[in-house]
């Protein structure tokens, strides 16, 4: 593994990947970083309690949490990886966005958010404690903290690679510098700073992608020119249609390929990721009321549906415009990989000036990923591991201090785990493996626990652990060559194994242990939750407080000031003087609109 990486790095050095940057470009980057740190400093003033620091005081409007939700996912690995896929496979890449994200995001908002937000849980592990027991909370808290530190390391390592390739910084310099920037604003401003910066990052990343697409299309003669040129390159005209996507799935039979996309990508992988990943769910939990929380993933689904147009298409443009990538597509020998598509295209079509904006956007996307990991690690460690387990019953200032300390420790650990990530030749494979270890079993017990009230607390943590063990075993069998499949297929197999084993163990254990009484599961299990709590009535923002008496955050939300704020702050995306109950603020209506939008997009690129 190690030698492979070193080999690819030496090879990389031969094609000049260095961006032709000038002082002007650095102006854009520096100005961006000044604002990022400024947000951290300003956000600091708003931190008065641990809830402020770790969950933004549950006070953010839906457009902010929605854009942060998408931005936390729009990390650099996503950006670089999907543009690479675009260059290699063309349009079929859109499945990762459309069927692979939109339905799960809408499901999260409409079906699951009432349980998450309504339970007043501050984290996914805390929700598991309510539904199952303390052991389940601890098992998930520990594995989540571990996963967060490992994935933060991946983001950091990837950022280091880019700084090394584009700017000529050494990894030993680039990694600590990047960690320091994320650390400084997250340390100062907590989740608020992370989320506010994510919104800013979202716009800067768009300022990278849109000009790149426009300039690229101008170079290849518009969409028609692109289609003509792409069709002439392997794998041929099927790069222009989404279905059946046989090149993407590596399944020759078109019917099975479609089946694989719909069930594999569309169900197990995507629902597992979007519905249980706390780094994402946390953004919705910090929304200011139930309605905003439910709309968070759905508002995020709109950019998620549209953004492949400015990721996949430039990827395809890179494939025809950059000579080395064209050689690669034709099967020739070259010293670049598809992962270089983004930076190669930036250098090819962007003049100095906008190139600097693009560089700022690229750096922003790396920080988005890492900051999301670190800020979710903070919350889980402070609340689930420290407050609920190791040191309970201390005053709130104590936990605020712990939260800040975890930020520092987390960033330091990420520098260490960046070294682990460096030993993997393909970062995407590493991420997928981590996903199958941690998210797939969690999704299994989560979905079972939501719909089956008989499932017991013991079943919760045994299901989690056995699922993880199953995934680790599959992973080592694939690695050892005992199961002869590609690493991509291997991690899918691992995720499926984790899901099936997790469900099976949970069912068996449930039959021999005692379930919680029904009265403890109201609001946590579908069948035991009154329709009003999971349906439309919940969407009326101001009414929520009454429905969940004793809840710390929603209580008293019905007063006049809260309503004025609800209208005032989140407006703009929402018309003047509207109550939050307007039809276009209904999660169900918004969800339906985004599903229709996705369908229309699919028809356009069928």
């Amino acid at each position: 593994m190690l030698t492979e990486t070193m080999l690819s790095e030496t090879v990389l050095a031969q094609t000049d990947l260095r961006l032709n940057t000038t002082a002007l470009d650095y102006f854009f980057v520096i100005f961006y970083f000044v604002l990022v740190l400024g947000i951290g400093v300003m956000a600091r003033r708003s931190i008065a309690s641990s809830l402020d620091f770790l969950l933004s005081g549950r006070a953010l409007p839906a457009w902010v949490t929605g854009l942060a939700f998408i931005s936390a996912n729009l990390g650099a690995i996503e950006l670089i990886g999907m543009m690479a896929n675009g260059a290699q496979y063309g349009i079929p890449t859109v499945h990762y966005y459309w069927i692979g994200a939109i339905p799960a995001m809408v499901f999260l908002g409409i079906v699951m958010m009432p349980f998450y937000y309504g339970s007043k849980a501050r984290s996914v592990p805390e929700f598991l404690r309510m539904r199952f027991n303390k052991t389940t909370q601890r098992v998930n808290g520990i594995t989540f903290a571990l996963a967060a530190v490992l994935i933060a390391g991946v983001n950091l390592y990837a950022l280091g690679l880019v700084l090394e390739a584009l700017l000529g910084w050494s990894l030993a310099l680039a990694i600590p510098v990047a960690a320091l920037v994320v650390l400084s604003y997250t340390f100062l401003g907590g989740l608020n700073a992370a989320i506010y910066n994510e919104v800013l990052q979202f716009f800067v990343i768009l300022a990278l992608l849109i000009p790149l697409t426009v300039a690229g299309l101008a170079r290849v003669g518009g969409w028609d020119g692109l289609s003509a040129q792409v069709s002439g390159l392997p794998p041929g005209p099927e790069q222009l249609s989404a279905w059946p996507g046989t090149t993407l799935t590596e399944i020759a039979n078109p019917f099975l390929s479609v089946l694989g996309i719909v069930f594999g990508l569309g169900f197990v992988l995507s629902f597992g990721y979007w519905t249980t990943n706390f780094a994402e769910v946390q953004r919705a939990l910090s929304a200011r009321n139930m309605s905003a929380a439910r709309r968070t993933p759905i508002i995020a689904a709109f950019p998620k549906a549209l953004i492949p147009l400015v990721i996949v298409i430039p990827g395809m443009i890179a494939g025809v415009l950059v000579p080395q990538l064209t050689t690669l597509k034709e099967g020739g020998a070259t010293d670049v990989t598809y992962n270089n598509a983004l930076s190669l295209l930036m250098n090819e079509v962007l003049p100095n000036g906008i190139l600097g904006v693009a560089l700022a956007g690229l750096l922003a996307s790396f920080m988005a990923g890492m900051a999301a990991n670190i800020s979710s690690l903070n919350t889980v460690f402070t609340y689930d591991l420290w407050q609920d387990w190791v040191r309970p019953g201390r005053p709130d200032e104590y936990y605020l201090r712990i939260g800040r300390m975890v930020t520092v420790v987390g960033c330091l650990l990420a520098i260490g785990t960046a070294a682990i990530a460096g030993q993997y030749a393909n970062l995407m494979d590493y991420i997928q493996a981590l996903f199958s270890f941690f998210n797939a079993p969690l999704f299994a017990i989560f979905i079972l626990g939501l719909f089956w009230k008989r499932m017991t607390g013991t079943a919760g943590w045994t299901g989690l652990i056995s699922g993880t063990v199953a995934a680790v075993i599959v992973d080592s069998l694939v690695r050892g060559g005992v199961i002869p499949v590609s690493s991509q297929a291997g991690s899918f197999l691992g995720a499926s194994a984790a899901f099936v084993v997790g469900i099976a163990v949970a069912v068996v254990v449930s039959t021999v242990t005692t379930p919680k009484p029904d009265s403890d599961l109201v609001g946590l299990v579908w069948a035991l939750t009154p329709r009003g709590r999971r349906g439309k009535a919940v969407a009326e923002g101001a009414g929520v407080g009454g429905e969940f008496p004793g809840g710390p955050a929603a209580g008293g939300r019905g007063d006049v000031v809260a309503e004025r704020r609800a209208v005032g702050v989140s407006a703009g995306l929402e018309g003047p003087d509207e109550e939050e109950g307007a039809w276009w603020q209904s999660p169900v209506v918004l969800g339906a609109i985004v599903l229709v939008l996705t369908l229309v997009l699919y028809l356009m690129f069928w």
Partner: protein
Amino acid sequence: MSESEERPPFDHAEAPSAASQLFDLRTIIALLFAVYGIVLIVQGLFFDSEAEIAKAGGIHINLWSGIGMVVVAVLFVIWAQMRPLVPPSER
């Protein structure tokens, strides 16, 4: 930038504090794109060489991106002006 708004006091220890309402993020976004946009417009109008313009297939990409960014900045300013954060009420 408007100041944070006061929220009603809560009894619960974990209640979100009055300070939770932040500075207005919309102003920051507007500032970023206004500065980016103006610099890009100046660059696009006066300093872009023919070779640079040819890179983007003859489109004045710096100029147009700059104009787009200024428009975005103006929209955010208008939004922030029309729907300001609710001013703090005295506790």
